[in-house]
């Protein structure tokens, strides 16, 4: 099957590559990193091709070697990394032995690059226009000052900046994250490269912005016939955007093929696991009701989880926690002594029945985390009422508040900073018991061992330290700590957002099991609607401090009334996937 892509070049003179010849060919690529423990191979024997105009996605968890592969194509590996074997053919020429000067001609001109984090990849002290002009000059697209200026304006216009000429004089901090990423895409495409490498281009952005940015890359590259190499951890996103998907694990390719074929007919057990664990694919799978029994005991099937919980829910249970007209107004300093009130949370109300999960969903700045902090007593509400098990939290004495706190425990987002690095695992888990003076030393020790077992961690971890554990394991420890005082409510603030898909599915499963076993009530704060479908019974959608829509998970997913909710739902990667099994 050979596709013919209409290719137009803005200069109209450069001959276009033959679409039947690969643009980039990677053969048995090996990349090693020099570390304290000797040479560590990050990429081992990877081979693939990218044809002109084609979109290829590399999918993998952190540490799979996907980003290293991408940077090796441009020879932009960090100082201690080196290509130790294989070859990389760019338009038929092996670039492995190219020097810096030769590579400079390829970077930008043949291969453009869009980095992951738009916040740190623009230099804050130079205007945006300067940085675009610099890239254009470096790529030799234009030489005269006037041409460079004209090209820069053109690039920014293509990036979707309305009044490009005015905004060129502005600085990165005057741009939103999405806008900055558009500028970086503009820079990446500034010299009309034949291939654009986009390394997790949207992981730092809100879901709705993510969709816009990916649509933007798609339309720009389609118009110019640019090939795209998309690096992502999200299989749903990869399958939706790319014609070919490469799945990597531990530096090797485990499976590669046309995306639909790979999704509907995964062969390798690792790919099967990834598909079962991806929340973005779960909602699609639920609709086509293909969540069968998982074949592999190690596989966590999130779609299956979602179905099971739908059957178990008891809607008439009494509310454990109820929030009425909760409001938080911050005063924002405006320079001098003036300040301006800013309503972060605006009269939100909800109830969570015992043993159920309410997901509070919203994009960054929607006020969801502020709401969670008020419920945890870390932030004083401006007005409104929080009632926990019939006891009001506002206007109570310090001592009563102290006691109430034991009934509500948090799990935070970042597993790497939520445990004190100098405390042993046991000490961290036992901390709530020490603070609340429950039990003697022996009883606490027994409880810690019990908790370790509940979160499926070996008892041997008792006197080990957090930096010996992976992110998922640390998050288990954080969950164990939250459960130490046998709370009624656990507030999970983006608790699975920082984890890799397989680990995320495992933690979601653990949370569901614990809920069933201990009758826990969860307040689940997240930006990721895909995960909501798997874990939540009820959903409340927040936008600019207000709850704009709430209902049961099925109501929201099948019948969203608000356009904002609909937009969030459409933005779930893989939502537009035509996928039959």
């Amino acid at each position: 099957m050979t596709e013919t892509i209409p290719v137009t070049d803005s200069h109209g003179t450069v001959p276009v590559a033959d679409p039947s010849q690969p643009l980039v060919q990677v053969r048995d690529l090996e990349v090693g990193f020099q570390t304290q423990n000797g040479l560590v191979k990050a990429v081992r024997g990877v081979s693939f091709e990218i044809y002109p105009g084609e979109t290829v996605a590399i999918v993998g968890e952190s540490g799979s070697g996907k980003s290293t592969t991408a940077t090796a194509l441009m020879k932009l590996l960090p100082g201690n990394g080196d290509i130790t074997g294989g070859e990389v053919l760019v338009e038929g020429t092996n670039i492995v032995d190219h020097n810096e000067k030769q590579m400079a001609a390829i970077r930008g001109g043949v291969i453009g690059y869009v980095p992951q984090d738009p916040m740190s990849n623009l230099n804050p002290v130079w205007s945006v226009g300067f940085q675009v002009r610099e890239a254009i000059r470096a790529n030799g697209v234009a030489t005269s000052k006037k041409d460079i200026e004209a090209r820069a304006v053109e690039v920014l216009q293509q990036a979707g900046l309305g009044d490009a000429e005015r905004r060129m004089k502005q600085f990165p901090h005057q741009f939103s994250g999405g806008m900055r990423q558009r500028v970086l895409i503009g820079i990446g495409l500034g010299a009309d490269p034949k291939l654009l490498i986009a390394d997790e281009p949207t992981s730092a952005l809100d879901v709705t912005v993510q969709k816009v940015i990916l649509d933007h890359i798609e339309s720009l590259t389609r118009d110019k016939g640019t090939a795209v190499l998309l690096i992502t951890h999200d299989l749903g996103l990869a399958a939706e955007r790319a014609s070919k998907v490469i799945v990597m694990n531990q530096g090797r390719i485990v499976e590669a093929g046309p995306s639909k074929d790979l999704l509907s007919n995964p062969q390798h057990p690792y790919t099967q696991r990834l598909i079962a664990a991806a929340p973005s694919l779960a909602s699609r799978r639920l609709e086509s009701s293909i969540a069968g029994e998982s074949q592999d005991a190690k596989t966590f099937d999130v779609a299956q989880m979602a179905e099971q919980r739908a059957e178990a829910v008891d809607a008439d249970a009494p509310a454990v926690i109820s929030v009425r007209d909760l409001t938080k107004v911050f005063s924002i300093r405006k320079g001098g002594f003036r300040s301006e009130p800013f309503t972060a949370v605006d009269k939100i109300s909800f109830d969570i029945p015992k043993g159920t999960t309410l997901a509070l969903v919203g994009e960054s700045g929607s006020g969801k985390s502020t709401a969670a902090k008020m419920i945890l007593g870390l932030e004083e509400p401006t007005s409104g009422e929080i009632t926990v098990g019939g006891t009001a939290m506002t206007g109570v004495s310090r001592k009563d508040l102290f006691n109430l706190r034991s009934r509500m425990q948090p799990v935070f987002q970042d597993p790497y900073s939520s445990l004190d690095p100098q405390r042993s695992i046991a000490s961290s888990i036992a901390e709530p018991m020490r603070v609340h003076k429950t039990g003697d030393k022996e009883a606490r020790r027994a409880r810690v061992l019990e908790l370790l077992e509940q979160v499926s961690l070996p008892a041997e971890l008792f006197n080990r330290y957090p930096n010996e554990l992976s992110g998922g394991q640390r998050q288990r420890v954080a969950i164990a700590r939250a459960l130490a005082l046998k709370p009624d409510v656990v507030v999970l603030d983006e608790a699975v957002s920082a984890l890799d898909v397989l680990v995320q599915a495992q933690i979601l499963q653990l949370l569901a099991d614990l809920q069933a076993e201990l009758g826990l009530t969860y307040l689940f704060i997240t930006h990721d609607l895909a995960v909501v479908r798997v874990i939540a019974d009820n959903v409340a959608v927040m936008e600019r401090g207000k709850i704009v829509e709430s209902g049961t998970t099925d109501q929201i997913f099948e019948n969203a009334r608000e356009p904002y909710t609909q937009r969030l739902l459409d933005a779930i990667p893989g939502a537009g996937l035509e996928w039959t099994v």
Partner: protein
């Protein structure tokens, strides 16, 4: 994968996915301090610095183990006399035993160094920690006080204090004169570390449990801010010893104590006839200061995983 639309599957036996997120119990135990210690143990310079520091410490505690001579007994008949058995470095102009004076001077140097470090720490750590943790007007107030002290060069301040208190030239006064003005830079380091740590989620988790703010500061934030503090204090130990020697050299340092600085000052007049009188106390001073400086820098590198990776 020659066919561009082929569906490639890796041989499963080579790429078998392991259990998800398995705990590796065979790994060695590690935390920040254990890792730092493992790194230090591999560095030869660490042992050199440690041995010199240990010798100085033992000299200070048990000077009689190193010499039988009396450092306070000057015999003019032995003025500028060369070395002889039992007196390996010879004599000064006044006929004092150079080696004995070096051995007994170690106690003074170390006392001043440690006292200064103690005073710097006792003032600087709480000032920086409270300013960083509580923020707001408390921070503004404490930081401005720190800025005032920071703007006065501590050595200049010590010169003034020692000139005024010329009747009390003992190690305690000199330590206060140095440490009382040197704490501001330590307070800045502590404040910056506390600011970094206080926004981490484990601090939030600790407060959400119900631990009070003060207790969270003591139990979680401060212990995690101690790395740079230990480094700064070790480095300032060397600086304090130098400062004492310099003050003594200028004649406004210690009075009535064996001090390397005093000995160096007095040896200046006989530099050409008896250079050993100047050289040996200077060497003792240099070695001591170097040892503590190296210790501080090695600990700094060992505590910094990035510096470890660079080597």
């Amino acid at each position: 994968m020659s066919d561009r639309n082929a569906h490639y599957v890796a041989p499963v036996d080579e790429t078998q996915p392991g259990a998800v997120d398995q705990v590796n119990l065979s790994a060695r135990k590690s935390n920040m301090w254990i890792d730092a210690w493992r790194d230090l143990r591999k560095r030869p310079l660490f042992y050199v610095a440690l041995v010199i520091s240990a010798i100085i410490l033992i000299m200070a505690l048990f000077p009689s183990w190193f010499t039988d001579a009396d450092p306070g007994r000057g015999d003019l008949s032995l003025s500028n006399a060369p070395a002889e058995p039992g007196h390996p470095l010879g004599y000064t102009l006044q006929g004092y035993d150079i080696w004995a004076r070096i051995v007994y001077g170690a106690e003074t140097s170390l006392t001043v160094g440690l006292l200064t470090v103690l005073i710097t720490g006792v003032i600087g750590v709480p000032m920086g920690a409270i300013a960083g943790y509580y923020g707001g007007w408390v921070d503004s107030l404490l930081s401005r006080i720190g800025d005032i002290f920071f703007s006065i060069p501590y050595f200049l301040a010590a010169v003034v204090v020692m000139s005024v208190l010329s009747d009390y030239r003992n190690p305690l006064v000199i330590s206060f004169a140095i440490g009382g003005f040197a704490w501001a830079s330590l307070a800045r380091i502590v404040r910056a570390e506390v600011l970094r740590n206080k926004n981490l989620e484990y601090v939030m988790a600790s407060e959400a449990v119900g631990r009070s703010r003060g207790s969270t500061l003591l139990k979680h934030v401060l212990p995690n801010s101690m790395g740079p503090v230990i480094v700064a204090l070790t480095l300032s130990l060397g600086a304090a010893i130098t400062a004492e020697a310099t003050l003594s050299l200028l004649g406004i340092g210690l009075n009535g104590y064996y001090s390397w600085g005093n000995d160096i000052a007095q040896a200046q007049t006989v530099l050409r006839t008896n250079p050993g009188a100047l050289f040996w106390p200077s060497l003792a001073l240099t070695l001591t200061v170097l040892a503590f400086t190296f210790l501080g820098e090695l600990i700094r590198d060992a505590l910094d995983p990035k510096a470890r990776a660079r080597r």
